[in-house]
């Protein structure tokens, strides 16, 4: 996973509450076998007209937001399906950070595991960032995970909170599976002690069963 420390980039506004992952990546792309190249499918049904012709009314198609890498969003961003294809598409499109008042739980986790920083700020702060982004073309934001700040070059400075472990995961680009596997002895000890109490772990006995 690509670590996240500090990023400065063009901000783009997705001014819509409750954006669900079906909008971020529609279902037809959940049929693919790989995780690469999903940027092309980001916001597919909003972004394209028939024949993959760009829908010029869609905000990300506006020339002024080309190359944006900080996504401003509204409350409960990423709700719905657990598909990790959503953060894959966001990252592959070029976004490194999202700023919103709140996120759906599964999506938030999926972002962290893909090196995307989901910044949570208050409603008024997010409103102000939307205002500045829409008012001034080329508006850029710096998201600093070490300092836990969002800043612009006009003196705006917002601090944000993030769970220390998640911060560390992003800063170091940690391999969580590797970390867990390092605790193999504890997992084995847990299994030895607990799996003899099948009622809390649902005994399965495949020998009873045939397909």
């Amino acid at each position: 996973m690509q670590p996240f420390t500090k990023h400065t980039g063009l901000a783009a506004p997705m001014d819509r509450v409750n954006v669900d992952t079906d909008q971020i990546v529609p279902k037809q792309f959940v049929k693919l076998l790989t995780r690469e190249g999903f940027g092309r499918f980001l916001f597919y049904d909003w972004r394209y007209l028939a024949g993959e012709k760009p829908n010029l009314e869609f905000v990300l198609n506006a020339p002024r937001y080309r190359g944006a890498s900080v996504l401003l969003a509204r409350a409960n961003f990423g709700c719905g399906s657990s598909r990790e294809h959503a953060p894959w598409a966001i990252l592959d499109y070029g976004f490194r950070a999202i700023i919103a008042p709140s996120y759906a739980d599964i999506f938030y986790n999926n972002c962290i595991k893909n090196g995307i920083l989901p910044v949570t700020l208050g409603n008024e702060q997010v409103d102000e960032l939307f205002k500045r982004t829409e008012e001034s073309e080329g508006y850029r934001l710096t998201v600093d995970l070490e300092q836990q700040t969002v800043t612009d070059d006009r003196g705006l400075r917002y601090e944000f909170q993030i769970e220390p472990f998640r911060r560390q995961t992003l800063l170091e680009g940690l391999d969580e599976i590797g970390l867990t596997l390092a605790h193999e002895a504890e997992i084995a000890a847990y299994e030895a002690k607990n799996l003899r109490v099948p009622a809390m772990h649902g005994a399965v006995d495949v020998k009873y069963h045939r397909n």
Binding site: D15, R16, V17, N18, D20, D22, Q23, P26, K27, V30, K31, L32, L33, T34, R35, D45, R74, A75, N76, C79, G80, S81, S82, R83, E84, P87, S102, A104, D105, I106, N109, N110, K113, N114, E163, P164, F165, E176, I177, L179, T180, L181, H183, E186, I187, Y190, E191, N194, V197, P198, A199, M200, H201, G202, A203, V204, V206, Y208, H209, N211
Partner: protein, 474 residues
């Protein structure tokens, strides 16, 4: 020990490792996989040279993209077929049980887990699918995970998790006739909003919840995620135990009795504290219909499409305006005046045999409205299909003008050929009315199975409570 909630008891029993300031490492008892979210994690395991730690605890099926008819013919959908082939190969290579398209156990993952008795009280259950919350109906902790977490579970049989907050959702009193579990959960989501449960695990309680069958409890827990909660639970009781006894993978004989004795200890202790509590009165509930583009945009069948101007918050007002534009609805329209193009009865929310029985009772001896282009019944599993056929439900549906299909996710997510065409309007027993969910440009109204069945007959929504054929049951 201090009084604990159902969630806390299951959590405590599954902590493998804990240290301050870090997420806990918790043990996972059951892992379900399906074709749509599993190719990448298996590929990543191979790339890293990692094994599946406990293959006997993972169960696979094919559901998202499966055709619901003509399964004996070659698949025309090449991308779907490639996913099925990948799943079959991955299961074979890693030693995982697979219920493939030809298996009598095939079906939607959240339907087959419970009906095979793989889902049991007290277990931690995960799947790369947000509707894994369904399994909480058994007093299990079931939640959806992303692809990276699927890989994590395969490799380690554990997950790193932060403990959730708990929300008690109590539905007091007796559920009125014509009001189903679907209406209860839609009313709850309407009340708390679709982000209201973010960070929480729900525990459903109260007389109206206790009075539900396992199927009804699964419907409620299934849609916990639509209220923002990763998991929803109901404490196991005699209804739960009776459902599980004799299921293929459930414990047998003396083992079953031992299990029941343990399961009985799971219920939340008197005096245990929740982080939040929400209370609804069952007697105030009515059949619900969604009007917008998320499940929280919902009203009673006797209500009207709201005017966006009533929303004081500018962001909400804009969302309502955009939803009405997408749905092509005018403020003030009576819900009962909304005419339909298609009706879909199915999905992991409402495709179990009890759902089909209730819908069949509504349509028996009647005909689907001529104005309808399609009325579709898709059983949740091949076992549900077989049971329904044994009871003659397929005949009732076919005679009324419904199509009767093989099991799968079908028009809930439209990854196969069962698609709601652009501009058309459907009454659907599924869980998401998001834009394009049932097909790009399609307009979805979420309802209960009996509401969908009655709407199919009339061609528009009707208040099922006025249907004399209900007989106080559903």
């Amino acid at each position: 020990m201090a009084a604990r909630t159902l969630y806390e008891k299951i959590w405590d029993a599954h902590v493998v490792r804990e240290e301050p300031g870090r997420p806990a490492l918790i043990y996972i008892d059951r892992h379900f996989v399906h074709e749509a979210t599993s190719p990448q994690p298996f590929a990543a395991l191979r790339a890293a040279g990692r094994k599946v730690r406990r293959p006997e605890l993972t169960f696979a099926t094919m559901d998202h993209s499966v055709p619901t008819k003509n399964r004996d013919l070659p698949m025309l959908d090449a991308t779907g077929a490639a996913q099925f082939e990948a799943l079959a190969r991955n299961c074979k290579d890693f030693g995982i049980s697979l219920f493939d398209m030809q298996s009598r156990n095939q079906g939607i993952v959240h339907v087959i887990g419970p009906e095979l008795g793989i889902t049991q009280p007290g277990c931690t259950i995960v799947c790369g699918d947000s509707h894994t919350s369904t399994h909480g109906a058994f007093g299990a902790l079931g939640f959806g995970i992303g692809t990276s977490e699927v890989e994590h579970v395969l490799a380690t049989q554990c997950l790193t998790q932060f403990k959730s907050k708990t929300m008690k959702i109590e539905v007091r009193g007796k559920r009125p006739s014509g009001v189903t579990a679907k209406d209860m959960i839609l009313a709850i989501i309407g009340k708390i909003g679709i982000g209201g449960g973010n960070g929480y695990v729900f525990e459903y309680a109260g007389e109206a919840v206790r009075g539900l069958s396992m199927e009804g409890r699964m419907t409620m827990c299934n849609m916990s995620i639509e209220g923002g909660a990763r998991a929803g639970m109901v404490a196991p009781d005699d209804t739960t135990f009776a459902y599980l006894e004799g299921r293929a993978f459930a414990p047998r004989g003396k083992d079953f009795q031992v299990a029941v004795d343990t399961w009985k200890t799971l219920a939340t202790d008197a005096g245990a504290k929740y982080d939040a509590t929400v209370t609804l009165e069952a007697t105030e509930l009515a059949p619900m219909v969604t009007w917008g583009t998320n499940p929280g945009m919902v009203t009673q069948v006797t209500g009207r499409v709201p005017d966006p101007a009533i929303f004081s918050d500018a962001v909400d007002r804009k969302a309502a305006e955009s939803a009405l534009a997408y749905m092509n609805l005018k403020p003030g329209t009576r819900m009962e005046d909304i005419a339909l193009d298609r009706v879909f009865i199915g999905s992991c929310t409402n495709s179990r045999v009890e759902d089909l029985r209730a819908a069949a009772r509504v349509v028996e001896g009647k005909r689907v409205a001529k104005s309808l282009k399609q009325a579709l019944v898709v059983p949740g599993s091949q076992r549900v299909k077989a049971e329904a056929e044994k009871e003659g439900l397929d005949k009732i549906f076919r005679e009324a003008g419904f199509e009767w299909r093989d099991a799968g996710c079908s028009m809930c997510i439209a990854m196969n050929d069962d698609v709601l065409p652009s501009g058309e309007r459907a009454a659907s027993t599924s869980n998401r009315n998001f834009e394009g969910r049932q097909g790009k440009g399609g307009r979805t109204h979420l309802v209960s199975p009996i509401m969908a069945a009655a709407a199919a007959i009339e061609g528009h929504f009707v208040d099922v409570r006025q249907w004399k054929h209900l007989n106080g049951e559903e």
